[in-house]
């Protein structure tokens, strides 16, 4: 059986993926520290600013994260055929069939692998949920970061009520990203093993492998 290489992900999508993933690694690590700054300095005059410094890293990573999310929203509308939001949602017969086939394959009921170039629809929906969570994460983050700015204040108050609730939701959403990452990394490897595309390399190179149609 022969394979052909097909262009799938644009460079912007790949850049977005890795800035998103890497910024989240930093955000989770620094976020946990902000919640519980375990390194107690206990001494005056040491000239170290651990909390201020960790918060700074959190905010820099937060801006990278925000840029990544904005890039993804742009691609949902203006990206290539695989990147558009319409390719990710179960809104066409082709997509609904793909969702069912994926569920059957993931639960080991059937061995059939639905060939398509973009995400499978189950993955696509999970990614959309993650981007929505990311929007809430960055709005609550900026609400805490710029508490006096009118625009963040009115959004923050409308969505969360007060700073404490925003912080609470910000913290709970962190767990979504952690859980997502575990399942996500497992499933892309699983697909790499079980499917022909070479899925993992596609997020580096942008290309997927497809059965060549005769």
């Amino acid at each position: 059986m022969t394979y052909e290489k097909q262009k799938c992900w644009s460079i912007l999508l790949r850049l977005y993926h890795w800035s998103f993933a890497l910024s989240i690694v930093f955000l989770v690590a620094t976020g946990i520290y902000i919640n519980f700054p375990w390194s107690n300095t206990l001494q005056l005059g040491t000239g170290s600013f651990p909390v201020a410094w960790v918060r700074y890293v959190h905010f820099v990573a937060g801006y990278v994260f925000t840029a990544a999310v904005l890039a993804r929203i742009f691609l949902y509308i203006f990206g290539n055929a695989q990147e558009r939001i319409t390719d990710c949602l179960p809104i066409s017969g082709r997509n609904i069939r793909n969702l069912i086939k994926t569920l059957l394959q993931y639960s080991y009921i059937s061995d059939e692998h639905d060939e398509r170039l973009g995400h499978n629809v189950l993955a696509g929906c999970t990614y959309i949920i993650t981007i929505i969570a990311a929007v809430f994460q960055l709005v609550s983050g900026f609400f805490m970061l710029f508490p006096e700015a009118h625009i963040w204040q009115s959004w923050g108050v409308t969505l969360f009520g007060n700073q404490q609730e925003a912080r609470f939701i910000h913290h709970l959403l962190m767990w979504w990203f952690l859980i997502f990452a575990v399942i996500h990394i497992y499933l892309v490897i699983w697909n790499d093993v079980n499917g022909p595309e070479g899925l993992v390399s596609s997020i580096f190179t942008g290309d997927k492998f497809k059965h060549k149609k005769a």
Binding site: M1, N35, F36, P37, S39, N40, T41, L42, Q43, L44, T46, S48, F49, P50, V51, A52, Y106, Y108, M144, P147, E148, H150, Q153, S154, V157, G161, N162, Q163, Q164, E165, R167, F168, H171, L172, M174, W175, L178, I179, V182, I183, Y186, W190, N194
Partner: protein, 357 residues
């Protein structure tokens, strides 16, 4: 000699106390000292605005803290610059006479008087949980508020419902702004600093308009900044020096109270700069974290007071746990599920053998 036994029933405010009060208000408003004479002038020459002060579901703590401040000048100054025509705690009239006063004031000064509301308004079952002279609080508010020149809600109960609005809110208590059309100045706090009310009223007298408000209706001069962002212990926060436990060495060293649940990072107030009781203190300066009393829903969201974040309540199960122990469990279950999924996949391959394509 201080008037320790309060021989005179209505002690007169001397000029020094008067100037001092105006200066404190000017400082709180962020005005330069050159503005103090303007405030003094407005406070002495402007016609004293009639004020109606309504008490609903509350503990009268706001009035108490206002009138019984250790330094009585503030309360007296306030009584000097306004004409308090109806105030259930301090008025001399009682019964029908009191009700008549209220009626007369709102008719005579229709559109001109200031309305100050203290306490939340219960709305459940047509508001029967708070009645004064046979009328519900909802009725009285609906009658008086539209006739007022401005409405000021004082205290967290009147602004956001306070403790009686905490879950499950048995009487359906709400803050004044939920029921009143038009702007309400929210002087929140449990109790609020008297200077915030004084500043608002002096601003109104001097500039003939209400001070600038934040998106929750609180005057920016008093609620424009988070306690955490102007706290004297902030350097300890940035440098990572924390109290781990009340009474420990770090607590004696006056380090930051973040890890014992200080809500300064989530609370807008003027406490660290204006302070209380004319002895220059606020909770953090005496070793207790802020509990976030000026914020909406503070009883529901700022508790537990000695933890960083609220607990997660799993509906229907009665389980209450902190966010991280729930998160760790869910993550553990996820990891286990991933492991099982992988094992099933491998098992299936072993059974079926490698059916090569």
């Amino acid at each position: 000699m201080a008037d320790t036994v309060n021989k005179t029933l209505i002690p007169r405010l001397d000029r020094r106390g008067f100037l001092k009060g105006c200066t404190m208000a000017a400082a709180a408003l962020g005005l330069s000292e050159t503005m103090v004479p303007k405030l003094v002038e407005a406070a002495t020459t402007a016609q004293r605005p009639p004020v109606v002060w309504l008490h609903f579901q509350e503990c009268t703590g706001c009035t108490e803290s206002l009138l019984r401040a250790s330094h009585p000048d503030l309360g007296r100054l306030l009584l000097d610059i306004i004409s308090l025509d109806y105030h259930e705690t301090v008025m001399a009239a009682a019964g029908h006479q009191a009700e008549q006063n209220l009626k007369d004031t709102i008719e005579k000064y229709n559109g001109k008087f200031l309305l100050v509301v203290e306490g939340a308004v219960p709305t459940k079952d047509n508001g029967i949980y708070c009645k004064i002279a046979g009328r519900t609080a909802m009725d009285i508010l609906a009658d008086v508020a539209p006739k007022a020149a401005a409405v000021i809600a004082i205290g967290t109960c009147a602004t956001f419902g306070g403790v009686q609005a905490a879950a499950p809110n048995p009487t359906g208590a709400v803050g004044v702004q939920t029921l009143v059309k038009g702007p309400v100045v929210n002087i929140s706090g449990c109790p609020p600093n008297p200077i915030s009310l004084l500043g608002t009223i002096l601003h109104y007298l001097t500039f003939k308009r209400l001070p600038a408000l934040d998106s929750l209706g609180r005057p920016l001069f008093a609620y424009g900044r988070r306690n955490h962002d102007h706290c004297e212990r902030r350097p300890h926060f940035d440098e990572g020096r924390f109290v781990e436990q009340f009474g420990d060495e770090a607590h004696r060293q006056a380090y930051c109270l973040y890890k014992v649940g200080c809500k300064g990072p989530e609370t807008f107030a003027s406490c660290p700069s204006v302070r209380f009781n004319d002895v220059g203190v606020w909770p953090v300066s005496v070793g207790h974290g802020c509990i976030g009393c000026t914020e909406p829903n503070f009883w529901d969201t700022m508790t537990p007071f000695y933890e960083r974040l609220p607990n997660v309540k799993i509906p229907g199960s009665g389980i209450v746990a902190d966010a991280d122990s729930v998160g760790k469990k869910v993550l553990g279950i996820t990891a286990a599920a991933v492991g099982i999924h992988a094992a099933v996949g491998i098992g299936k391959r072993l059974i079926k053998g490698k059916d090569e394509k």
